[in-house]
Symmetry: C2
Subunit: 569 residues, 2 copies
């Protein structure tokens, strides 16, 4: 019982040794993260197509639940850009933005995602996420960043528009370009410029002016808040809301409300695939942040338990007016850098955000949406990184094809199609590669016991013996390829009496491959050719024995290729 508790409740481990020093460090980190999260949470709610307070709600209970169930000590959970985009894309196809149904569907999506993550964690199915290859993720994040940035331009311009793909968004912008609100544009462009400058130029400037590194850091992080304060003040002072500048408006002053997702089977069914994709993407993003930060302190991250933590966080979001959440990169890094020692820092952040939701919302009445859009644009443009195209091109054409397809399809067909196609393509290309394994004909390097490719090295061969080295495990997709190669080689050369397969690189032989070996063995025997094996690995040998293949084998199994060659001389 106690073991189970420790396994599923990491808080039981770190909670026992929690002390005053950890508390102080966690409090400081929480304060900094809270200041950073307020504008970010509002902005991501906007991106997801939800009212701003949903962003705050999505950060409160989820953070606390992750603190209880998660294994990372620094991960900060809440709305993040890509997951918010995926939320908007998933819901946009089903319900109209701004309706009660939309917010309900967001709760349902968070619920489904939470349930899936929790189930994957309990049944240890985290490996599913491994089918998202790095290049596919990199391509997907880059394309998503572009779509997100493009989708915010309408707020900067103060016009209408919409769409889930780059094509739709650009069309929407052109359609509404005549309606530009110039004051909004000025605010939006200034805010964007200011935030970029805070990110790149403020820190060096402060350092040059003699500020300490710590102060410069905090100032940089508080930059977005300054942007919020300045633009809100400007709108309020000059009455710009009456001149068509879109503002956040009234936000209820309340703790997260208790909400119930919509469990209608139709909706659940429609959201099933989006929820799955969003969960996997969120999990992959979260775990890589968690592992990066844990490595710095030699801490362990348990992927299955992470699934449970994120699952609990999403379930929390579903029942408290939020939307899908995951561990975010920037907020987690800030949390870590600010000295967070335990997940309790997250809980204190939650308290800070709860106070904000309760007390500070009247202050953001005049906050222009253009400022939030600027926050989003500046945050996501750091995600856009086309270097993966160059890198994958240089490394392998298969990886390049998967990245390119992911980027192009995400931009033109939407996030769900893009990421699904990327995964499908990388699986197919992987299977294709392993379906045509490298099979080298080898010969003896004179004066040694080594065998090398006859095409690359000067080696000794025996006209009666063909030595083949297979550089891949044998399974159904390449079993027939091996058959073809061997029949071809033997039919080409009537002198051959022995075929020796050097099996040092064969880690597995499945039933199809075994049957192919049996067919090879019996067909070769009809041609008066014996089949031999050499350097068979222990586990493979066990399997061949169990299947009685060795009894049928017309030749022998040799410990080494050299032994085989000597015996057949």
């Amino acid at each position: 019982m106690n073991n189970l508790l420790v396994r599923y409740l990491p808080i039981m481990t770190w909670g026992r040794t929690y002390n005053r020093s950890a508390f102080t460090n966690d409090m400081v980190a929480a304060l900094i993260v809270t200041i950073m999260l307020i504008p970010q949470s509002l902005a991501y709610a906007l991106l997801a197509g939800l009212p701003p307070e949903a962003g705050l709600y999505a950060s409160i209970l989820p953070i606390i639940l992750y603190a209880i169930f998660g294994t990372s000590r620094a991960l900060a959970v809440g709305p993040v850009a890509v997951v918010s985009l995926m939320t908007a894309a998933a819901l946009g196809n089903i319900v109209d933005q701004g309706t009660v149904g939309y917010a309900m569907a967001a709760l349902t999506l968070a619920f489904l995602s939470g349930a899936m993550l929790l189930a994957m964690g309990l049944f240890r199915l985290g490996f599913v996420a491994n089918f998202l290859s790095h290049p596919v993720i990199a391509g997907f994040i880059t394309a998503s960043g572009i779509i997100i940035a493009a989708s915010q331009l309408k707020h900067i311009l103060g016009i209408g528009g919409g769409g889930d793909t780059l094509v739709e968004i650009v069309e929407g912008l052109f359609e509404h370009i005549g309606e530009v609100n110039w004051i909004t544009l000025v605010i939006g462009v200034s805010a964007t410029g200011f935030l970029f400058w805070v990110r790149k130029g403020l820190k060096p400037l402060l350092r040059k002016m003699g500020a300490s590194a710590g102060l410069a850091d905090v100032a940089t992080k508080a930059g977005p808040v300054a942007g919020v304060v300045l633009t809100t003040a400007a709108v309020w002072l000059f009455g710009l809301a009456d001149k068509g500048v879109a503002i956040v408006g009234e936000v209820p002053q309340s703790l997260p409300p208790l909400t119930m997702p919509d469990f209608s089977p139709d909706l659940l069914w429609q959201l099933l695939l989006p929820a799955f994709l969003l969960s996997i993407i969120g999990f992959v993003e979260s775990i890589s942040v968690a592992q990066t930060l844990a490595a710095k302190k030699r801490q362990r991250i348990n992927p299955d338990q992470e699934l449970i933590g994120l699952g609990a966080a999403n379930l929390g979001a579903a029942f408290t007016g939020g939307f899908p959440v995951t561990g975010g990169f920037s907020r987690s890094v800030v949390n870590y850098d600010a000295g967070a020692e335990t997940p309790a820092a997250g809980a204190y952040t939650a308290v800070g955000l709860a106070i904000a939701a309760l007390a500070l919302t009247p202050l953001i009445y005049f906050l222009p949406k253009a400022t939030l859009a600027a926050t989003i644009i500046v945050a996501v443009l750091s995600l856009v990184d086309f270097s993966i195209l160059k890198r994958s091109w240089a490394y392998s054409k298969a990886d390049f094809a998967a990245v390119l397809a992911t980027i192009l399809l995400t931009l033109t067909m939407g996030v769900e199609t893009g990421v699904s196609a990327g995964v499908a393509l990388s699986v197919i290309l992987h299977l294709y590669k392993s379906s045509k394994p490298h099979i080298a004909e080898v010969g003896l390097v004179p004066g040694t016991e080594h065998f090398r490719n006859i095409l690359r090295h000067r080696v000794e061969t025996n006209p009666k013996v063909v030595n083949l080295r297979v550089d891949e495990s044998l399974y159904f997709a390449n079993a027939r390829f091996l058959e073809d190669k061997i029949y071809d080689r033997v039919a080409r050369d009537k002198d051959v009496r022995h075929v020796v397969l050097q099996c040092c690189a064969i880690n597995e032989i499945d039933l199809s491959a075994l049957e192919s070996l049996e067919a090879i063995n019996s067909r070769l025997s009809e041609m008066d050719v014996s089949l031999h094996l050499s350097e068979v690995k222990g586990p493979v040998m066990d399997v061949l024995k169990r299947a009685h293949f060795l009894d049928e084998l017309t030749g022998k199994v040799y410990l080494s290729q050299f032994e085989a060659a000597s015996a057949l001389k």
Copy 2:
């Protein structure tokens, strides 16, 4: 030009050396095969839901085209049981049997299948067929055999019914069981019993009576014809057709007509997937027969050219009133055993069948459908073989799961679902297996230079060094698994200062795995642990160099694990 001709027209190779002796042997084989094919062709047309003459037509031009384009010297192309069943299943969902549209759709299916096979051959895409694992094929063939046999029971009973799955067929039988025609039942049961006896008992009997082996063989093969003759005569003499015995009836006396498939986009779209599955199944069946027979004479089969040959045959069927065809097992074996030397034997068979279509069809007016059903049942029951379940259970649970799913889904959901699910499941299980590769911590076997699993052998270890051997190529699906394993191992043991990866079983490292290695390298370095590699294969080393990974590596690359251990002592 000449090379191209030789490559794409195998007839250019064997045609040049064709002589009188080959001609005689081919003619004898053709005669025997023709006699065997007449009832079989009629029966498979019935199985496909088409008029009997379609079976003859499907055997004439296709055989000739395969003789020109195919590489097997003994393969006999025409309607076969499983492909006929798949034809019926594909068409049954779209058009009603017995209508003109049904026959047209059969032509379209043959056309699509021919075009796909041809394209796969020209673009060398034959590897696609490799994703059908042996156990999945075995399960599929067994389940198809059961469905086919069950589907013929209605003809034996002389009742109505139908259905594409075992469930539907059995339901249909129960529904119509009251309509049994007892005379039909007597004919059907006698014919089935007779054919079984011919197959099993006739040859030993004739041999015991002193007949030569050759004569006994021919008699066995002519058995079905005897069945046809006897039951046809019985129906004719006793006027049984008037008593409700279903007969073949009028069959046009004609050479294969020139026909045009229906190219409406809707139909093409609906038949796309069925045509693809049917083409792949047909190709796999055909090539394994061709390879078995070719091996006996040390002849070569070119899989890409086989695709072209089968593609041409199906296109031929599409334009001459046929339906999808492939190389059949029993007819090819008979052809081979009867002494066929070249594909010309196929052409002579075609002539024989053309004569039959032109002259003999009035003779089969009174042929009872029950006899054809008996022919099918006896032929397909030899396909049913549940031993694959036992064999795969003993060999590997993953293979077993794929077989079981294929059999159950084929029987209950139909052939297309069954085979698709089998393929999908075997791919997923393969990926799952390779996503959790065997990673052994190894230590030095005292007094040797060998490293073995520390859990299985008494070995020397060094508390500062972790030696890990990865028994699988590294790619996206297992890259993160490796990361987790290493972080886990290192976080568990604070003394560790070096991690050595023994890479002897790593045949490939894709970009995801490279990035995981980079992450491992940099995260370990944050923990003050160096990463080393040993026994890296040449091609993998090239790739790592090209990606500049070796420049970043905190440790070194050693030629052998022993060298690494010595250096780090």
